[in-house]
């Protein structure tokens, strides 16, 4: 049975949610909340169904012709459903969190409408079956995130939005040019095709390298690779759920996922190595890893520090991709999931600190562990995972990346990994130390910048539980990595698929 409706319905669920939310009046809060949650649950169910089909070896494909030789293709393959699963799971968490976060503020209809659009585009990116479809959703993502970034409507937010657009739209144009060039050279090329572009190597070697540079350059802007990362720290003015989503799943990951698709499913890993582009990419990724970490240390506010940490962490994925060999690939794919879980936890916590206690700067966090134990515990789990301590999820990634580097005989990558871990520790451990071991307002010294009593627990339940939930999941991803359907297991499945072709 061909389940063409499956990927289409999954995207349509979010799109429909967006349309309904837009058409509801601003005041109908309850209905909007239920529609949001309902759509998220439906989506998780559909993605689960797709995962089942992939396990059964039967990919759901939907396709129709747009013009002449160009098709719109949605295809639920192993790599796609991996990203789709991440995005739908985190969407549910973020929706719950956002409902709590934005309670009582203005323009919530606009926010949740574009939020749903944003997630629909992310899912589209995950399930896109060819570069054309990918491009459609990629640009949709750019457009639907803009209103979220400028949500607060302050000058700072509007400026950040402008810079965000400058970077991403220029990248979109570069990408469009690259994709058109590729189509003119090779014609329609599905991600499902097993042949790669090797056939064109003889005639178009330079052109293929150029197109690769255009495509990866375009994606690298969203993946925030140095020197194209400028928009990300500025986009931190967005509300916390937006930052969480942007960093963990939507925008940054879309860029990284694009690079994955180009190398694995479009060019083919052998061709990429043959062209020599992977080494260049590995160097760029390493520079980004180190640069992001160093800049993160220099930040005194919590959210910018997390932002630079994202810049650094996302490049782990790119690094893993550019290491030729299955272990590098497994590391990259697993990190796509792990980093999403950990980073979303960290941002949730940062948002909770800001809302409940008015904390924005790191030196204000002294002793917050006593006042908000659960939040701080979640934050600690995320931070330790980021550093890569065993048995947290981040450790697994780094372990596999290290093995991959040794297999690819790129020993300097090990040095980068070690240095990066040290730097991660240097900017996360002080925060953890402050949370638990420094004496602060909770112990009667001074007062919090702006304390609100949002809920019966340490904060509003809608804010707290998503953070705890993602922290538990990320912890489980590390502890139970050996079980079936863990991120590592799924990454291995995808990688095996890639290398056995």
């Amino acid at each position: 049975m061909n389940a063409a409706w499956l990927p289409l319905t999954a995207i349509a669920a979010s799109l429909l949610a967006a349309v309904i939310i837009f058409s509801l009046p601003e005041e109908s809060r309850r209905l909007r909340t239920s529609i949001n949650l309902l759509a998220a649950v439906i989506k998780i169910t559909l993605v689960t169904l797709m995962i089942q089909r992939v396990v059964a070896g039967d990919e759901a494909i939907f396709s129709f012709q747009i013009v002449g030789n160009i098709d719109f293709v949605l295809r639920a393959d192993a790599l796609g459903v991996m990203f789709a699963g991440l995005s739908s799971l985190l969407w549910l968490c973020t929706t719950v969190y956002a409902i709590g976060y934005l309670e009582g503020t203005a323009n919530r209809k606009r926010f949740f409408g574009f939020f749903s659009l944003c997630v629909a585009s992310t899912l589209g990116i995950a399930l896109a079956g060819n570069l054309f479809t990918f491009l459609i959703f990629y640009e949709m993502l750019t457009l639907s995130t803009y209103p979220l970034v400028v949500h607060s409507g302050t000058d700072k937010a509007l400026n950040a939005g402008r810079i965000y657009l400058r970077y991403t739209l220029t990248a979109g144009v570069v990408l469009l040019f690259g994709v058109v060039l590729l189509y003119s050279v090779t014609g329609e090329h599905s991600f499902a095709s097993e042949r790669g572009l090797g056939d064109y190597l003889g005639d178009h070697r330079t052109l293929l390298t150029f197109i690769f540079a255009l495509l990866v350059g375009g994606f690298a802007v969203k993946a925030a690779m140095v020197p194209l990362h400028g928009w990300l720290p500025r986009a931190m003015v967005a509300p916390a759920p937006v930052s969480a989503l942007l960093h963990a799943v939507a925008v940054v990951k879309a860029g990284a996922f694009g690079i994955l698709r180009v190398i694995y499913d479009l060019y083919g890993i052998e061709l990429s190595v043959e062209l020599g582009v992977t080494t260049a990419l590995a160097v760029a990724a390493c520079i980004t890893i180190i640069y992001g970490s160093v800049r993160a240390i220099a930040q005194h506010e919590l959210k910018p520090r997390l932002a630079f940490s994202t810049i650094s962490q996302v490049s782990y994925i790119v690094l893993g991709v550019s290491l030729f060999g299955p272990f590098g690939t497994i590391g990259a794919l697993a990190h796509l999931l792990h980093q999403g879980l950990m980073k979303v936890t960290l941002f949730f916590c940062a948002g909770i600190y800001a809302e409940e206690l008015g904390i924005h700067r790191i030196d204000e966090m002294d002793g917050a562990g006593k006042r908000m134990p659960l939040t701080s515990l979640a934050f600690t789990v995320g931070a330790l995972g980021m550093i890569g301590l065993p048995p947290f999820a981040g450790f697994i990634t780094k372990w596999y990346l290290g093995i991959g580097a040794i297999q690819a005989e790129m020993y300097w990558v090990i040095a980068v990994l070690v240095a990066s871990s040290a730097l991660n520790a240097a900017y996360f451990l002080p925060i953890v130390y402050r949370l638990w071991f420094r004496v602060g307002p909770a112990h009667g010294h001074g007062s919090w910048p702006n304390e609100q009593r949002l809920g019966r627990l340490e904060t509003h339940g809608w804010l707290l539980w998503p953070a705890v939930f993602t922290a538990v999941i990320s912890l489980a991803a590390g502890l139970l990595a050996g079980l079936p359907f863990s991120p590592l297991d799924w990454a291995t499945r995808v990688a095996v698929g890639e290398y056995l072709q």
């Binding site: 837009f22 012709q65 747009i66 013009v67 002449g68 160009i70 719109f72 203005a106 323009n107 209809k109 606009r110 054309f132 491009l135 459609i136 959703f137 640009e139 949709m140 750019t142 457009l143 803009y146 209103p147 400028v150 607060s152 409507g153 302050t154 000058d155 509007l158 939005g161 402008r162 657009l165 739209l169 220029t170 979109g172 144009v173 469009l176 040019f177 058109v180 060039l181 189509y183 003119s184």
Partner: protein
């Protein structure tokens, strides 16, 4: 090129229904316009009811066309033979005209109800009728005399329509335009005279068979091209466009920017493909002008103070996209694949822009009407109270920017592919830069609209129908991009 314009013999006679549908399509707008001048409609449903037969006639023609292919009519009036044809391009443009005309007409009662009563308002209806009729005739006509008649009728009625709301700067601009366009029409007439005198043909198909390249053809093509460029507001001759649109009534702007300026372009392309097939310089010149138009129009829109100026200036830039395609359609050394892609992209871009620009004008009109402010600064913070109008504006601007999933994107994709295949890198650069410039001026407006610090206005409530019409047009541009396959199939359907 000839078969693409349907200037070939048809295989079958038109059906009886086609005759009636054609008569309704051409005459009904005039009749309705006249009736509306006597009894101006006050409600939307009256207009909808009146437009229904017109839209039905278009659909009937579409059905007939898909069934029997190219339709031709030949007739004689006072000894002058008149030819009409219905091929893929004309049926698409005819449908577009009818739906856009109907949308503008539907929008009008809402507008007139909320704005202060105008003495001249009732004249809007007959002029609109003439414009729609004349446009339909332009898409169908196959001889130079009918084309001339239709173009002039359309041009004069359009100027009249634009003037109705007359504020002084707009009157000056349109006075200048009127004089220029009249001289332009003389240039066109002289060109036609030249063709008639030298080749003895006014029928396009006949002309195509006898015409040969030579000084006479070149001069005639130059005269006709110059005259039509004056009418179409092509790049160096665009100055009148924005002041006129800044004060014209919203549905008038929508109709004008969406279709009227394109009619001249359509005729230009059609005549040049007969007179100047495979010439190098003439289409190249148009393309260079188009590149300048993209950049200049974008910069003007970027600097615009008022919303309507922004929208009107973007028309200049968007026409530039169409001009850039000329070398691909007419020039030498273009492969058949590139030509086919460019042909599809050209019409898709034209249709997508027509829908999106009309939607944009209607949305901008709604914003201005509801707030009473015309400048971007004055409209700051309008996202709070007018989310729907703003959303429509956004959807329309996605098409203008050429971002997916919209007709603008699909068209841009086709055009880029054609340009890459035929290695016209300058045109590629122009298209890509155009995207960024469009984004720059569109988001400049959005930046204002999202401001939360702006003072709160008193908002005038509008009838929801006005927003819904605009939304439908904007969504149509989206759907056209995703379902581009079907209209483009029609473009080929008439080729056999």
């Amino acid at each position: 090129m000839m078969w693409r314009f349907g200037l070939a013999d048809s295989t079958f006679e038109p059906l009886l229904t086609s005759h009636w549908a054609l008569a309704i399509a051409l005459c009904l707008p005039l009749v309705l316009g006249g009736l509306a001048a006597v009894w101006p409609p006050k409600r939307m449903w009256v207009v909808a009811l009146a437009c229904a037969p017109l839209l039905t006639s278009g659909l009937l023609l579409l059905v007939d066309f898909t069934q029997i292919g190219l339709l031709r009519w030949q007739g004689e009036v006072l000894g002058v033979s008149i030819g009409l044809r219905l091929n893929g391009v004309s049926i698409l443009l005819l449908l577009l005209t009818q739906w856009l005309g109907a949308a503008s007409a539907l929008y009008t009662p809402g507008l007139l109800n909320v704005s202060p009563p105008e003495r001249l308002a009732r004249w809007l209806w007959p002029l609109m009728g003439v414009v729609v009729s004349a446009l339909s005739l332009v898409w169908l006509a196959t001889d130079l005399i009918t084309l001339y008649l239709a173009l002039e009728l359309m041009g004069l009625a359009a100027v009249g329509m634009l003037l109705l709301s007359g504020k002084t700067p707009a009157l000056f601009a349109s006075m200048r335009y009127l004089l220029l366009t009249l001289v332009g029409s003389l240039a066109y007439l002289l060109g036609v005279a030249l063709l008639l005198g030298y080749w003895g043909q006014v029928d396009l198909a006949g002309l195509a068979q006898v015409v040969e390249p030579g000084p006479v053809t070149w001069v005639a093509a130059a005269l006709i091209g110059g005259g039509l460029a004056l009418k179409a507001a092509l790049f160096p001759l665009h100055a009148w466009l924005s002041p006129v649109h800044a004060s014209a009534w919203t549905p008038v702007s929508a109709l004008h920017a969406g279709l009227v300026v394109k009619a001249s372009l359509f005729v230009l392309l059609q005549l040049w493909s007969i007179l100047l097939p495979d010439t190098f310089w003439a289409p190249r010149l148009v393309a260079w002008m188009g590149m300048l138009a993209i950049i200049w129009g974008g910069l003007i829109a970027w600097r615009a103070e008022s919303l309507k100026t922004l929208v009107a200036s973007s028309t200049v830039a968007q026409l530039g996209y169409l001009m850039v395609v000329f070398p691909l359609l007419l020039g030498p050394n273009v492969g058949p694949l590139a030509k086919a892609l460019a042909w599809e992209g050209f019409w898709l871009q034209l249709m997508g822009h027509a829908l999106a620009k009309a939607a944009m004008f209607l949305a901008a009109g709604n914003l201005i009407l509801a707030t009473g402010e015309t400048t971007l600064k004055g409209l700051a913070g309008c996202s709070r109270k007018l989310p729907l109008s703003l959303l429509v504006f956004g959807i329309a601007s996605v098409t203008l920017m050429g971002l997916p999933p919209s007709a603008g994107f699909t068209a841009k994709w086709l055009l880029l592919q054609a340009m890459v295949i035929s290695q016209q890198w300058w045109a590629v650069a122009a298209l890509l830069i155009g995207t960024l410039l469009t984004a720059a001026y569109v988001f400049r407006f959005f930046r204002y609209s999202f401001m939360e610090t702006a003072p709160r206005h008193h908002y005038q409530p509008l009838s929801p129908g006005m927003d819904i019409i605009a939304l439908c047009l904007a969504l149509a541009a989206f759907v056209l991009g995703l379902l581009a396959h079907f209209p483009l199939e029609l473009l080929h359907g008439g080729s056999l």
